[in-house]
């Protein structure tokens, strides 16, 4: 793994799996401390993952489980996260404006992170993003393969992706619905696929996308 941005702080041999194991552990364990409604001073505060912080201290130094975080530290970290989002977004937005695009995409975010020194995050984030896209493909049809193929094609084309992002922004809430809303899922990815592959005309599609649309269409009509 490329360590160039990390200043040799700590070798993280399998960052993404380590984090995800931690996340998996968090799902099953009862949250001990949660950031509840208290700190809502500024609208910039996120109720960040306090459990993440607790888990991190446990893993950082093989510390005893009763290692603690003060409330002011939690609040400070929350503010830092908000600042982080602003910081990265500003850089991503600058790139969009340079390239005369209106929509900030995931790729813009990743680019900004790399430029601002967070290149160690790029690999786990890219894996996460691809996994997310695969999942969306699976939800669009029972057989995920054609959609995954179509997605791979389109992952290389940032411009098309940027164009369909407007639809993606609308469809994103749909993607977060549970499996019960399967019909809605059927609708959204179809539109999603159309926009991505044809900037101007929804009727024309690339071969792979057409295949995918047929697959998705067949499932949901």
């Amino acid at each position: 793994m490329d360590r160039r941005g990390f200043h040799g702080y700590r070798k993280l041999p399998s960052t993404s799996s380590e984090i995800n194991m931690r996340l998996a552990a968090e799902i099953h364990h009862h949250p001990t401390t949660t950031t509840t409604t208290t700190n809502n001073n500024s609208s910039n505060n996120i109720h960040a993952t306090t459990d993440d912080m607790n888990e991190c201290t446990d893993h950082a130094q093989d510390s005893p489980p009763h290692a603690k975080i003060s409330d002011d530290a939690k609040e400070t970290i929350q503010e830092c996260v908000s600042e982080y989002i602003s910081f990265i977004t500003s850089e991503a937005n600058e790139r969009c404006q340079r390239e005369q695009r209106k929509t900030i995409t995931a790729e813009d975010v990743l680019y900004a992170m790399s430029k601002l020194g967070f290149d160690d995050y790029i690999e786990p984030l890219t894996i996460y993003l691809h996994r997310y896209r695969e999942l969306e493909g699976d939800r669009g049809s029972i057989r995920g393969e054609p959609l995954v193929k179509a997605r791979n094609i389109n992952n290389n084309n940032v411009d098309q992706y940027g164009t369909m992002a407007a639809v993606g922004a609308y469809a994103a809430p749909a993607f977060h619905l549970s499996h019960h809303h399967h019909g809605f899922f059927g609708g959204a990815p179809i539109g999603y696929m159309n926009m991505r592959d044809a900037n101007s005309s929804p009727s024309s599609s690339s071969h792979a996308a057409a295949l995918a649309n047929v697959e998705a269409f067949a499932q949901h009509k």
């Binding site: 799902i27 912080m53 910081f87 209106k102």
Partner: protein, 118 residues
């Protein structure tokens, strides 16, 4: 059946719309993104999702570095000054320096989001 463990966080929390203890609220992330500049127009659906994960990584890194400071101070409770020390000690956290020092000192300097370009 999908292999569990590595991505169970994604499956059960990150993408189902629930904001469990392991994923950050996407609407809030989007709001902060829009606030970062007057000219932020549109945000793709995936960008907040990437940020959700990125912020987890960020929290982890910041917390671990802060905890190192706590240990060096022979303490067991992570305090705000540990976070400040970690931010100052880390190059990529330069953008946080004003933020963490503003809370303990008077506001001598305006808060700068981008201090240096890297």
């Amino acid at each position: 059946m999908r292999q569990a463990g590595a991505y169970s966080g994604i499956l059960s929390g990150g993408l189902s719309g629930k904001t469990g203890p392991h994923s950050l609220p996407l609407a809030r992330i989007k709001k902060i993104m829009k606030k970062s500049g007057n000219d932020v127009k549109m945000i793709s659906g995936e960008a907040p999702i990437v940020f959700s994960k990125a912020c987890e990584l960020f929290i982890e890194e910041l917390t671990k570095r802060s905890w190192t400071m706590t240990i060096q101070g022979k303490r067991r409770t992570l305090h705000k000054e540990d976070v400040a020390s970690a931010a100052i000690a880390t190059d990529i956290f330069d953008f946080l320096v004003n933020l963490v020092s503003n809370s303990s000192h008077s506001m001598d300097n305006p808060v700068e989001i981008e201090t240096t370009s890297k």
